[in-house]
């Protein structure tokens, strides 16, 4: 009996972690959409147990109650590429024998072959066998700001190395890591990583490394096939987990994520995968969207990093970064005392002309940034949004709102924000919508999602409520927005 009790305890312990809080949660008086009647939502063990009109659900005796009067149910968002650098720092070569006191340090022994074949230098940046879930690094410090920005799911990707390994899709909930995992070994992350002085140092070199990697994987596959067919004579191939993953990528069994910086890189990557069955997702800044037609043709998905362009023009800056406060820099400086000097005048005219040119270029950059989601949408490319290392978590929603303003349809923007497009490889692991029997993961908003005034008041991730802001006090609230 005692043993049985211990066994029950052992089995129940992990279940308790998976379900997080066992205390039920009752959210009262929230609206599914503006103008619709309010509902109550009962959440137990991370799942939505029941939804009913306000006042109809019986409150369990131990339930935590949250009054959501005036709040709307909103979606949670997916940060589709959280990059973290896991690369080991290059270490200085170690001399084999310690130098005697005062003796000059001799360089390590190297053969001429090391100078001729520098390709092994690339191996430090080629880790198809590595899994992000095996590291502590995906438990990123930025999860709290993400939750506050309504981001409940994140795809934690390995570093932008030639091949950094596989990513992990997890929630951003403040619970132990193992309880957060939605998909543990998702995709294989590649990049055209080039570094000065080390092979490969060019884009074409990086592509050559990938071509060689693919050739190695194909050989491994052929070897395995020959071994399984032959009764004797073919030795067993060595266990190469990394190559096995690359094989899966080439067969389309595992998606490949390629982090690109420019449109040219993206196009070269599409060319690299031509002739394979690879399911490709390109991750990079909005300017990649210029290759929208090529993505559509290759049936590739895109993760758009919300990389807000740096602009000097105050008008453009206000357009990008809401809400605006009157900026002092926009005020014109008073003319200086010697402005009548013809040389100064000429100089000022030249500066004005240069500023005009800069403004025109910035305008183009901003336009490319704003139109990127719409371009992809019009081309029929599935896409999602991601934050950048330098940006903020709320860039995600801001970018989607800007894209909607620029002409992207609201459903398309919502799909991109929530990673709901079924053509994207991570969409199946995400439990979308608020329905009985499904995971309780949603936000509570104080207004429509696409309004700049709307704030996220609370976020529920796997049934765990986190209240983020003061409840709305009706009219006269402050204008919302980013930065």
């Amino acid at each position: 009996m005692k043993v049985l009790a211990i066994l029950i305890l052992l089995v129940a312990a992990p279940a308790g972690i998976v379900c997080q809080d066992s205390q039920p949660l009752l959210i009262r008086n929230v609206k599914r959409a503006p103008g619709r009647p309010t509902v109550d939502i009962l959440i137990r063990r991370g799942l939505v147990e029941a939804i009913g009109p306000s006042g109809t659900l019986q409150r369990p005796f131990d339930a935590q109650v949250f009054d959501g009067k005036g709040l709307l149910l909103g979606p949670v968002f997916l940060d589709a590429c959280v990059l973290a650098n896991l690369a080991p720092k290059p270490t200085a070569p170690v001399a084999k024998t310690p130098p005697r006191d005062g003796a000059p340090t001799s360089p390590p022994l190297r053969s001429v072959d090391d100078d001729i074949d520098t390709r092994p230098a690339a191996l430090d940046r080629l880790h198809p066998d590595r899994r992000r879930i095996d590291t502590q690094a995906w438990d990123a410090a930025g999860d709290e700001p993400r939750r506050r920005a309504g981001i409940a799911w994140a795809l934690y990707a390995p570093a932008t190395e030639l091949c950094g390994g596989s990513g992990v899709l997890a929630t951003t909930a403040a619970v132990p890591r193992r309880s957060r995992v939605l998909a543990s070994d998702l995709g294989l992350f590649f990049a055209l990583d080039r570094r000065r002085g080390r092979y490969p140092s060019t884009t074409m070199g990086a592509i050559a490394v990938h071509r060689q990697l693919f050739a190695d994987a194909q050989r491994q596959q052929a070897w395995k096939a020959a071994h399984s067919r032959a009764t004797s004579g073919v030795p067993r191939p060595p266990f190469e987990p990394g190559l096995a993953r690359v094989e899966e990528v080439l067969d389309g069994r595992r998606p490949a994520f390629f982090v690109c910086r420019t449109e040219h890189e993206a196009r070269r990557v599409l060319a690299l995968f031509r002739g394979t069955k690879g399911r490709l997702v390109i991750a990079g800044p909005p300017r990649l969207a210029r290759a929208g037609d090529a993505f559509a043709k290759a049936q590739a998905g895109v993760v758009l990093q919300a990389e807000f362009p740096e602009v000097t023009d105050p008008v453009l800056r206000r357009r990008l970064h809401r809400p605006q406060s009157p900026e002092k820099s926009s005020a014109r400086p008073a003319p200086s005392a010697d402005s009548k000097d013809p040389e100064t005048k000429a100089l000022e005219a030249w500066i004005r002309a240069e500023r005009r040119i800069v403004r025109e270029r910035e305008k183009t950059t901003v336009q490319t940034f704003l139109n990127a989601p719409m371009r992809l949408s019009e081309a029929g490319v599935p896409f999602a949004f991601a934050t950048t290392a330098r940006g903020k978590a709320d860039d995600l929603l801001s970018y989607a709102r800007l894209a909607v303003e620029a002409g992207l349809s609201q459903p398309a923007a919502r799909r991109a924000l929530t990673g709901a497009d079924k053509r994207l490889p991570f969409s199946r692991a995400l439990d979308q919508g608020v329905r009985p029997g499904h995971t309780a993961t949603f936000t509570l908003l104080d207004g429509p999602l696409w309004s700049w005034n709307t704030r996220i008041q609370a976020v529920v991730i796997d049934g765990r409520l986190e209240v983020l802001a003061e409840k709305p006090s009706g009219k006269g609230k402050t204008k919302g927005g980013r930065r």
Binding site: D115, I116, G197, S201, T202, A206, G233
Partner: protein, 441 residues
């Protein structure tokens, strides 16, 4: 009223070429009427017509039957039509670095993996009458990467630029560049190999010996398979495969070199391993060993008057091209520069004025000879019936430094028009914006 109506009818036809200038305009059917035709062969220039149908030269001389839908460019005896200029050594339209300089042997990298089709240099080259360019890897390593021959189809994507009929090539480099490039490499704990011209030769020999060993491995495997044993294929090595391509004659060798001794060295190494150097690039001391170059069968791609920028480039003379030609070497003048590529016709003219090159053959230096060196002279390089309709139109003799290129056509499609270009630029004299600046910002 009649005049207005006529203008209304004409305006769309006049503006059409300019409206779609950015991606090339036309159906590939063009007639150049009453123009002075430079065929790019030894034939003297003549007054006549050139008809291009479906992108190919269909007729020359006096063309009587003009098919429907053919655009007519009236020359009035003033415009000069010549084959599109081919630059035999260029580094334009590349992104992400042109020198995989981290090792002395890198033939596995390919220029066509790094093409940048929106490089403004393409458009600038078109403005100089250039229609094709041979894009080479940098010269920092002894055996560099694979090249790409492109047609300057401004507006096309990277794959649209590549001229697929051209056989692939690999860049070799001798002398100071591969020796110097090992110095001060960040992260390197000491200077690499090679450090001397002797070392360069040994790198070449060692690389090809490795390639022969690699071939033996595969031959052994194939023999074992045919005998029913050993069914595990050897590892495919893309580097060795490229080197084997050279040994098998499938991949051409374009060798950056200056000094006579190393020119002889590289030809000797090639002969030892049973292949031929396709072209010697720069080859400023080629005149000293012109007979040997001719005997080996290599072409020579040099400069008209550009030297003295490093020690190995001192002993150069303007008669280099002519002296090599006299010995039977196929000679070209190249740009190796995004700036010089805009006036290669002038570079050819300088070879006439200062180097004694025959005037009637001068244009071949940048057209037919370049096509011969790249093994594409069956399709491009001269205005002959059946060849591609790649045409540069000048407002005067192309060998006159006052002449300007006014139109450039590739396979009958117009990619440059001087008048519309000037009109479009208006107050902005800067030309197209470099999009890479935006990309790197």
């Amino acid at each position: 009223m009649k005049r207005i109506a006529m203008m209304l009818v004409l305006v769309p036809f006049i503006s059409l070429p300019f409206a779609a200038q950015d991606k090339g305009w036309g159906s590939g059917h063009v007639l150049f009427r009453d123009v002075i035709v430079h065929m790019g062969t030894a034939t003297r220039p003549f007054l006549g017509d050139v008809l291009i149908r479906s992108g190919r030269v269909a007729d020359l001389g006096w063309v009587r039957d003009v098919p429907d839908g053919t655009r007519i460019v009236e020359g009035r005896g003033e415009l000069h039509v010549m084959p599109g200029i081919i630059d035999c050594h260029s580094h334009i339209a590349l992104a992400g670095g042109l020198n995989e300089s981290t090792g002395p042997v890198t033939p596995e990298v390919r220029i066509r993996d790094a093409l940048r089709p929106d490089d403004p240099s393409i458009y600038r080259a078109l403005a100089g009458g250039v229609t094709m360019a041979h894009l080479l890897h940098g010269s920092a390593n002894v055996i560099g990467g694979q090249d790409a021959v492109i047609k300057l189809r401004w507006g096309a994507d990277a794959d649209g630029l590549v001229y697929k009929k051209a056989p692939p090539g690999v860049k070799f480099a001798l002398g100071e560049n591969p020796r110097r490039s090992n110095r001060n490499t960040p992260g390197a704990d000491r200077q690499g190999y090679p450090r001397s011209r002797m070392g360069v030769e040994q790198i070449l020999r060692r690389a090809f010996q490795d390639a022969l060993n690699y071939r033996d491995t595969w031959l052994t495997y194939k023999r074992e398979v045919s005998e029913g044993s050993g069914r595990v294929p050897p590892r495919r090595d893309l580097r060795m495969e490229a080197l084997l391509g050279i040994l098998d004659g499938r991949i051409m060798v374009h060798c950056h070199c200056y000094r006579a001794d190393e020119i002889l060295m590289v030809m000797r190494v090639a002969e030892d391993f049973g292949f031929r150097v396709a072209t010697l690039q720069h080859v400023l001391e080629g005149y000293k060993v012109a007979e040997d170059i001719a005997r080996h069968g290599a072409g020579a791609s040099t400069f008209s008057d550009w030297w003295g920028y490093k020690f190995e480039a001192y002993d150069a003379i303007p008669y280099n091209a002519e002296l090599m030609r006299r010995k039977g070497v196929v000679v070209t003048i190249n740009s190796d520069s995004a700036d010089h590529i805009r006036r290669l016709n002038i570079e050819a003219a300088k070879t006439v004025k200062y180097g004694g090159y025959p005037r009637n053959l001068a244009l071949q230096l940048v057209t037919l000879n370049a096509a011969k060196q790249l093994h594409i002279d069956r399709w491009v390089g001269s205005l002959e019936i059946g060849k591609d309709g790649d045409v540069a139109v000048f407002d005067g003799d192309p060998l006159d430094d006052r002449s300007k290129c006014v139109m450039t056509f590739i396979e009958g499609i117009q990619y440059f028009d001087r008048r519309s270009d000037l009109r479009k630029r208006g107050g902005n004299r800067r030309g197209p914006v470099d999009s890479d600046q935006e990309a790197t910002r």
